[in-house]
Every structure is written in C-alpha cells, then in structure tokens.
C-alpha cells in the first residue's frame, strides 16, 4: 500500500482552451492544494472535462500554464506527466488481465519487481481474487475499482477522475463514493474529480468549484457554497433555490430590505453579495415552512401566501410546489416528522422562513423572468 507522501499543489494559470470559435475553458486560474479532494462541478459542456484533459496532457491548452509544485508541465507529453487519470469509460485494456492492467504503468516505467506492489494495490481495492480475470468478466463496479487501482499504483502527484461513477447504478455509486473517499484519505494523493452530479461533488470533495461556460462561478467548501451561493447559476445548479428578483428598499446595520412583488424580504448583510440596487432574494426549499393560510408565524419571519399545486412524497421528505400570487412556483421541502400531517393540492397556505436563511444575489442585468421560472433542480 502506498505510504502517505509529500505531494504538491497543482496550479492552473490563465488556462484557456478554444476549439475554433468555441471557448471551452476561459482564462482559468486555480490552485488545488496538495492532498485535497477537489471537485470540478458543472453541466455538460462547461469545460470541466477539457480542463481535466489539459492537466492530463491529453489536450493542449491554447493559452496559460499548468504547474505542479514549482514544475511547469504544460509542454510535457501525457506519458511524461506525474499525473494519472481514471477515465469515465474506465478504458481498461481488454487484452490484458486485471493484474497486467494494474501493472501497466509500473512496467512502462521499467520497474522490475511489480508483483508485491500490484498485489497490495489489488488488496486496497478488494480485487485480489480477480487478478487473472479479463476486464470483460468483471462487473461495472469492479471495473471502476480496477481503473482507480491502475491509476493510483503509479503514485501520481495528482489523480484525475473524469466522471468515474457515471456508469454505475445509484446504490453502487453511493458505495463507490465512500470507497473513493476512503482510498483518498489512505493514500493522501490530490484527487481532482470532475462530475455533473452535485450530490456526488458535495459528498466527496473538500473543495468544490462550480464551473459554467468555461469559468469558475464559485469555489469553496461544499457547505459554504450550498449555504451561500453568490450567483444565480450556482444557486440553481447546486441544489434548488427559490429566487425572487427585487430592488433594494432599505439598508440597516445588519440587514438589507428588498422590495419584490409588493412585499419586503430581509437578507443579512453578511449574506448579500449584490453590490447595487438590483437584488435577487434566494431561499433554499428546505429552509421554508408551510402553515395554513393566516396561521401565526414566528416573529421576524418573511411570508408568502399561495396555493399548493403539487405534492410529491419522497419518503424522507415531502416536496411541495406552491403557486405565489404572481405566478411563480415556490418549491418547499418538509421533513416527514409527523405522520399524516400534509397539505393537499388546492390548499391555501402560507410559506415562511427566517430572513437569516435568505441570501442575496446580484440581479444587475438579469431579467426577473429569467430567475422566476419554475425552480430548476440541479440533477
């Protein structure tokens, strides 16, 4: 089993990739700390895979540089970089057995006695009995673990994972998320994980960077960016958000008031990232509570009256869609803590929340209709 070693930071400096007129990666500057589990999260076509492929050396950047520690690797061919990749398709060599697949990198570097290392690695990914099988004879989850072992055995400075769990079913994916996290903690290598699955990114990564149209929209710890998104895209892509576009109506010492749809909503100053007068108020669905219309709500809470238009029971929680007076559909998640106490479609209800949970986004140049369509879920 590889020992914990000194690994080095990965720096991307002004990295760009253009395919003709299309800008896949747009002037990306980023430092990924050594030993971290870093997730690049974004929808397909956002440039996350291109970024990964540039780090791997499989794609040449149009501009910028890639530096590991203090070594510039931008000009190095893929086979000379201290970086290994776990491919989305696994890309296991079909003509080699599992042992030889895992040993491939070691043999190419001319290492003589590969047996103990390969066996230790197969043990780490719990595939010792499969050593002499061909990739075709393994299940998807097992193939995935071979792909991880084949890359990790080389003790790369950075391990790149390109949607490695995309082909697995939900249960196996959960299992592999925990497994990968365990392996990462054990070996201490820097993992850069590309995914479009926000839940996967949040479960596994120490740091998540949300990418959109070739740029990083926001970066931070999962809880940090979930609780306090700073752009409409992040608020929408990472979980769900109810967004109300409005204008600054007053600023206090601790909070701002935003006028929207004839009502006023409060946002703590510390949670407002909008510099100007156009502010979009955001509230996560699980931060909202439903009461019967007109029932008392806690002091200081903000309230919207509406009518239930959809109820979906998901076991742990019930998800409601509430039509606000101005037509917007508000999404609310309620924990199913009480048996049988649910609102029904057609009920008139009030939705309320603590302003401390609201966040403010810069609404400059964004049409209200662009944010107030029905809530979009991020997968």
């Amino acid at each position: 089993m590889p020992d914990k070693r000194v690994v080095e930071d990965l720096h991307l400096r002004d990295l760009s990739k253009r395919f003709g007129d299309f800008v896949a990666v747009d002037d990306l500057t980023l430092t990924i700390p050594a030993g971290s589990f870093f997730a690049l999260l974004g929808p397909s076509g956002c440039g996350k895979t291109t970024t990964l492929r540039m780090v791997a050396g499989l794609e040449d950047p149009t501009d910028g540089s890639i530096v590991i520690g203090d070594r510039d690797v931008t000009g190095l061919r893929a086979f000379k970089r201290p970086v290994n990749t776990v491919f989305q398709s696994y890309a296991l060599f079909p003509h080699l057995d599992i042992f030889e697949n895992v040993a491939f990198g070691l043999r190419r570097r001319g290492i003589k006695n590969v047996k103990p290392t390969v066996e230790a690695m197969l043990e780490l990914v719990e595939l010792t009995p499969m050593a002499r099988r061909k990739p075709k004879q393994l299940s998807g989850g097992q193939q995935q673990r071979v792909a991880v072992a084949r890359a990790l055995i080389n003790e790369p400075d950075v391990l790149l994972l390109d949607e490695p769990l995309g082909a697995l079913d939900l249960k196996l994916r959960r299992q592999m998320q925990i497994e990968l996290k365990r392996i990462q903690t054990e070996v201490g290598t820097t993992f850069v994980h590309v995914t479009h699955d926000q839940e996967e990114a949040m479960t596994m990564a120490d740091t998540v960077a949300v990418m959109n149209e070739g740029r990083i929209e926001q970066m931070g710890e999962p809880s940090e960016i979930y609780e306090l998104p700073t752009t409409v895209f992040v608020a929408r892509f990472l979980g769900q958000s109810n967004l109300f576009a409005g204008k600054r109506a007053g600023s206090g010492a601790d909070s701002v008031k935003v006028a929207a749809h004839g009502q006023e909503f409060g946002i703590p100053n510390s949670r407002n990232s909008a510099p100007g007068a156009d502010i979009i108020v955001g509230v996560r669905p699980e931060k909202m509570t439903i009461v019967d219309a007109g029932d008392p709500i806690p002091d200081g809470h903000d309230r919207i009256s509406g009518r239930v238009v959809d109820v979906s029971y998901t076991g742990v929680s019930t998800q409601y869609l509430i039509a606000a007076p101005w037509g917007e559909e508000i999404s609310v998640f309620e924990q199913n803590t009480v048996v049988g106490d649910r609102s029904l479609v057609g009920d008139s209800v009030d939705v309320h929340w603590a302003p401390d949970h609201a966040f403010g986004l810069d609404g400059t140049g964004i049409a209200p209709s662009a944010v107030e369509s029905e809530p979009v879920s991020g997968n």
Partner: protein
Amino acid sequence: MPALLPTSGSSAPPQVAARKARTGYLLLLPGMGWLAVFFAIPFITLIITSLQVPTGASGVYAPGFDIANYGEAISQYGDLYVRSFIYAGLATVFALLIAYPLAYFIAFRGGQWKGLLLVLVIAPTFASFLLRTYAWRTILADEGPVTGFFDALGVLPEGRILSTSIAVVAGLTYNFLPFMILPLFAALDKVDHRLIEASNDLYASPVTTFRKVVWPLSLPGVVAGTLLTFIPASGDYINAQLLGSITTRMIGSAIQVNFIQFRDYPIASALSVILMFVILIVVSIYIRRSGTEDLV
C-alpha cells in the same frame, strides 16, 4: 411488447425453446446445403480421383486405391510446394507491411474520408484479376522505367524483374493486398481511442502504446488478413505463369498443367489434396500460436 416475451431460453416454456432451436437449424440449412454440394461432394470426388489407377489410355482412369499417386506427386513436385509457400509467405509479409500503415491511417485519420478510401482500396478489384496481372507485365517490362530504375541502382541480380521470382512475389503481393487491408482496417477501426489515451496516461510513449495496446488489439485483423492472403497466394498460378518463368513455377501451375494438359487427374488431385492438408496444418499451428482466441 418485448417485455412480454421471454428474454432468455431458460425462462421460456419448453415448446418455445424447441421452436427457437428449430429456427436456428433452419437458418443453417442454406449454408450447409451449399457447402455439401459445392465443397463436401467435390472434395470426396477429389480424394477418390487422387487414388485412381491409370488404364493405359490417356485421360482414362479406373477406380482404385493407388497411394503411390501421392508419393509420385511429392517426389516430382516437392520443390514446387516449398517454392509456393516461400512466395506466398513473402507476399504475405510484404502485404502486411504495406497494408498495416495504410489500414492504420484509414482507421485513425480517415475521418469523413474513410468510406471513400475503402472504396479506393477495393476499386482495382473491379478490373479482372488476369487483366491486372497482365498490366504488371507492362509495368515490370525489361525496357520499362521500373526495371531501368532498379537496374541503375544495381540491385537486380539478373538485370531484369519480369520472369524472376521478384516479379511473382510482387504480383502476389499486389493482387492480394485488398484482402489484407480490409480485415486490418476492420480490426483497427474497432480499437477504442480512449485506450490509446489511457496508455499515454500510463507512461507509454507512442511507440510503446503501439506495441502494447494497438498491435495486440489488431491481432485478429492481422491473423484474418494474413490467412486471406497466404492461402489463396500459395495456390495461385496466374502470377507465376504471367510474371514468372519456368524456374518460378508454383504448385498451382503443376495442378493446372496436370489437369488440363497432361490429363493426369489422379496426380493433379493428389497435388490438390496435399496442398489443402499442408495449408490446413500451417494455418492451425499459426492460429494456435498467435493465441487470438480470446480476443475475438
């Protein structure tokens, strides 16, 4: 609808399984029938003919069991077998050397031109085999530029190309080239480009990637291509006849001459049977050795 049908034989009721099996055999019938009429029966006839005894009259033979025909065939034409296999082997090697880079280029770099390039590979076969071989007589003619060029380089021991073994091997190589290119292309086209990236990612240089990934994965195509070239080339006599001389005759010529000119059917048949068995043995050893069973 598909969900209502049994998805595997084991879950199907017995009569359904039986019907499925019957359908399979029915589908085999035309092919089996064809093979029976045009392979099995002629082959048995060939063996019977190869054992017939002469009656004295030219071209007339009586049924018998004359093993001596085989001894005579071997003692008289043994060197032709050797020469045939050497020529066919050389032609196969040259065809592989020419075809592999070409098939590699079409498969990996052909892009939208793949189809057109493949048509160009097959296009020469639209003209008759004989015609193309005759054309080579002109190309390799003693006064032609090709011969002139190589002669000037001083690489021609006999001072000419036509009527030498070089011409025969060149003709064989050329004529069977498409049969080498097509299976190679099919195998290379199937190689997943992501495997090449994975190999690069795992410290393999382009050369090592070719040796350790692309070449092994293309082996089924190499085996198919070499067989499709070697087998017909070793039985061919047109190239030896049109491009060679009396000293470059191949076993196909001997079979043809014995059948058509000498009307010595038993010897001609014995020669054919020996050729078939030698090819069969060579091919089985070859396939066993190349170990491609679990690749396909």
